[in-house]
């Protein structure tokens, strides 16, 4: 399986160090000293289920973030913009995976990797395609009960109301 990551790097103090594990096997490791958007890719086996772990490490939280007047102005870290697993694109789905910091804090719905920790993609199916389609369809189960009057009220609560005189 070909795996490709599109990331956007913040390279303060040398840039982030990224390792990727396929289950317990290290399949990729690199430091990204250049700032801005970039890609990296690697090959790994196509045996499923598997857990892919992207590990951000060796960031010193004291020195690797630049602050000015209490605001972060530069950082060592990166945003994951897109992941390709063979021909399957993970873009909107990136927010469905969790990031666990080295301190055990779980950060959901996050694609900016600013702490040391693990971004975990759990392919919990023997079939990549089936897993991917299920992932895409996860929104369908989250629909709240439909109530026409409530919906109408919400839609008409903002913006100018239409005049329906059409004689």
């Amino acid at each position: 399986m070909k795996v490709k990551f599109d990331i956007n790097v913040n390279n303060y103090n040398g840039g982030p160090q990224i390792s990727i594990y396929d289950n317990d096997n290290l399949v990729f490791e690199n430091i990204f000293p250049k700032k801005g958007p970039q890609s990296f890719e690697f090959e790994t086996d196509s045996k499923f289920p598997k857990v892919l772990k992207l590990i951000h490490q060796n960031k010193n939280m004291k020195y690797d973030t630049q602050l000015k007047d209490g605001n972060i102005v530069d950082d060592k870290g990166f945003t994951i913009n897109k992941i390709l697993l063979d021909s399957f694109v993970l873009e909107n789905e990136l927010y469905l995976f969790k990031f666990v910091t080295d301190d055990g804090l779980v950060i959901p719905k996050n694609n900016y990797i600013g702490y040391n920790g693990k971004y975990i993609i759990n392919v919990d199916s023997e079939n990549l395609l089936k897993w991917y389609l299920n992932l895409q369809k996860s929104f369908i189960n989250q629909l709240e009960e439909f109530d026409y009057n409530k919906f109408k009220q919400e839609i008409f609560s903002e913006g100018p109301n239409l005049v329906v005189n059409y004689d």
Partner: protein
């Protein structure tokens, strides 16, 4: 056990009570060339089953997902039982699965898995429109390719299957087989009539057969991508269509037909020939034929009073008409190519001849101003007197700008898509955002209902509510957000 070269299956889920046409067409085609074929409609078997978990099964097969993971085993068991049952009845060399939409994908994959488990040597082919749609997958055959790589199937056929399936049976390869390089068939008159001999037509609650008179479309409406799929508009002679209907009605004792065409009256010459032959048949036939499908508005200069009379006598009924908007300016931008005068003449003639119509509308076109919207309301007010023939108004949700449509290409620089086909804003009409379009849709639905029209509303509102939640949570819309499990919706979409 029935031996055959190929067993062709219709699989869940397509929400229809009519027999699906694809297996019947393919059976006729391969048999014409000396192969033996059987068909089986697993879709209808599921829809009409008394299974206690039917709702769950339909949901799971459509979307491949559920909140109740304990129930997945029920779906697996159902498919396993079907695979066992089929292989007890039939002994085919090939099994071809008609994947009509992406909502047939889950069942197809499970079925292939079980068939291969029971009989590893069986050769499985996937084909149909449902192969090509899966958001986020990079190429149009990625899903099928993946199925092949996983060893679930041996081959797949993209798009038109008639010639490709023959080539596959004969040579094991060819255009459109395991690739996207398919070629459109230009002579439709050459096709044999669909063979429904294996269907138990008595059991279908809707006594209607599908018929194909043309593929492609004569128009290039800006919101539609049909011309991307069918590069050419090809049509059968009117006589041949009428003869097929007469032949099929005598063979299967079914007298109502529904066209799969984008437009029945795309070629007026073929249409005239068709209604002339059929009208003549109906005048003397004991069981009169009737037919319906998608129709284009034509003024009286193009579709004459005589054409209308023949339309009625030939059995024309429930014509789905793409009216789209009551504003001529909006329709001009859409390239619908009919004026208000054409429209008035068309509806008047339908009323005089008692030919029933269903209006298909588009809510919130990029150039639609408030004035244009009011013109649509006024049109319905004007047509209240024709309500006896305007039997349904299909308002749909709101316009989605589909990739590959002229609209998407022409307005590329001036439309912000905002993460979804339904969420766009047009730079030259910024006030018409998604919220405003939903407002107009709600008003149109309520006003049309007040005027007494039969409006399809509830499912459209549910879809809009769903899309609205995606929009306001700044999520991204993708193809699976649009549930098109109903046969008619699939035709229209």
């Amino acid at each position: 056990m029935l031996n055959c070269d190929i067993l062709i299956l219709a699989v869940p889920l397509t929400d229809t009570d009519k027999p699906l046409q694809a297996p019947a067409i393919l059976k006729a085609v391969v048999e014409k060339h000396g192969y033996t074929a059987q068909t089986y409609d697993l879709n209808y078997e599921l829809i009409t089953s008394k299974n206690k978990e039917l709702d769950f099964l339909k949901q799971y097969f459509s979307f491949g997902t559920t909140n109740d993971h304990n129930k997945i085993i029920l779906a697996e068991d159902y498919v396993s039982d079907m695979a066992t049952k089929i292989l007890k009845i039939y002994d085919p060399t090939f099994i071809a699965v008609s994947v009509f939409t992406y909502q047939c994908q889950t069942f197809s994959m499970l079925l292939a898995q079980h068939l291969k488990k029971i009989k590893p040597g069986i050769k499985i082919i996937f084909g149909g429109q449902g192969l090509s749609i899966a958001s986020g997958i990079q190429s149009s055959d990625a899903w099928a390719k993946e199925c092949k790589q996983l060893g679930l199937i041996d081959h797949y056929i993209i798009s038109e299957g008639e010639q490709a399936l023959l080539n596959l049976l004969k040579d094991g390869k060819g255009k459109g087989i395991d690739n996207t390089d398919w070629e459109q068939k230009l002579d439709l008159d050459d096709n044999p009539y669909p063979n429904y001999d294996d269907y138990n037509l008595e059991q279908y609650s809707f006594k209607t057969l599908m018929i194909t008179g043309s593929r492609g479309c004569v128009r290039r409406c800006t919101f539609c991508d049909i011309h991307k799929h069918w590069k050419r508009f090809v049509f059968r002679s009117g006589k041949s269509i009428a003869e097929e209907m007469i032949h099929q009605s005598e063979r299967y004792k079914i007298y109502n037909f529904n066209f799969t065409d984008s437009l029945i009256n795309g070629s007026m010459k073929a249409y005239r020939d068709f209604i002339t032959v059929l009208a003549e048949h109906n005048q003397s036939a004991e069981k009169k034929l009737s037919w319906g499908g998608q129709f284009i508005v034509r003024g009286i200069h193009s579709m004459t009073e005589k054409d209308w009379k023949l339309t009625k006598i030939s059995g024309g009924d429930k014509l789905n008409v793409g009216v789209e908007s009551g504003s001529e300016a909006v329709r001009d931008h859409m390239k619908k190519q009919f004026s208000d005068k054409d429209m008035d003449e068309f509806v008047e003639q339908a009323h005089i001849n008692k030919v029933r119509l269903q209006f298909l509308m588009i809510m919130g076109y990029p150039t639609e101003t408030l004035h244009d919207f009011k013109l649509s309301l006024k049109m319905f007010k004007r047509y209240r007197k024709y309500q006896s023939v305007i039997t349904k108004v299909v308002l749909g949700s709101t316009l989605s700008i589909l990739p590959g449509t002229p609209l998407a290409e022409e307005l590329e620089q001036s439309v912000q898509m905002n993460g979804g086909e339904n969420f766009w804003v047009y730079d030259k009409n910024k006030s018409l955002d998604f919220r405003e379009r939903i407002k107009r849709r709600i008003i149109m639905g309520e006003e049309c209902a007040k005027m007494g029209f039969d409006v399809t509303n509830n499912n459209d509102y549910k879809l809009l509510h769903y899309l609205w939640n995606i929009y306001k949570n700044k999520q991204t819309q993708n193809v699976i957000d649009l549930n098109t499990s109903s046969l008619n919706e699939q035709k229209y979409s």
